[in-house]
């Protein structure tokens, strides 16, 4: 940790823009917003280009996943088949798009469609990517990375 700080101080960027962590409440609020709306956390931090690109990628994956007849898992599917809880956790990472799609009964999953497996994988991965994006925003807000 100490070595990292020394390394940052040695760079010209660190001299001009010192890294200061935000308080934890603000960081958690930003991360919650980023979970609900993909990319929002980076936009709130001021990295709006990254935020827009992240939002575009995650939402594109989500829409493509639904378009390819992928399946969205809900918490009740974990009761029938315990391993499905992991699929639900992955899906829930997409945040508001997942909640809206579930509400509208989208993502039923058409197993006879040739792209069903791809669609389901797209839906899982877009949620997992959003978790990764939120963790990245957390690190930036806590000044753990520039």
């Amino acid at each position: 940790m100490e070595q990292t700080n020394q390394g940052l101080e040695a760079t010209p960027q660190a001299e001009t823009v010192p890294l200061r962590p935000m308080n934890m409440a603000a960081t958690l609020a930003i991360c919650s917003g980023g979970w609900l709306v993909p990319g929002l956390s980076h936009i709130l931090i001021g990295r709006w280009i990254r935020g827009v690109i992240f939002a575009a990628c995650v939402l594109a994956m989500f829409v493509l996943g639904l378009g390819m007849h992928g399946k969205l898992y809900d918490p009740s599917s974990g009761l029938q088949e315990p391993l499905h809880i992991f699929a639900f956790i992955a899906n829930a990472g997409a945040g508001l798009p997942y909640l809206i799609a579930e509400r509208l009964d989208m993502g039923v999953g058409v197993m006879t469609a040739p792209s069903y497996d791809y669609g389901t994988t797209y839906l899982w991965v877009c949620g997992l990517l959003n978790y990764l994006i939120v963790l990245d925003a957390f690190d930036i807000a806590q000044a753990r990375k520039p």
């Binding site: 690109i53 992240f54 493509l64 007849h69 797209y122 991965v125 990517l129 990764l132 520039p146």
Partner: protein, 58 residues
Amino acid sequence: MTLSHFQALLIFALLVSVVFALVTKNEPREQLRYGIFVFFSFLAVALAVGWIMYPLPL
């Protein structure tokens, strides 16, 4: 929506490599290099695994 498996693979690799590059690297030049590396790695591994599985009776 009808995408071929290869088109789905291409789009998947593109979107995931963009996010990985932006999350793991800070400089734009590094991001571009790493994104291209991840993109082609996805394609190469998928094609390699596809050919390895080709003779298997599935």
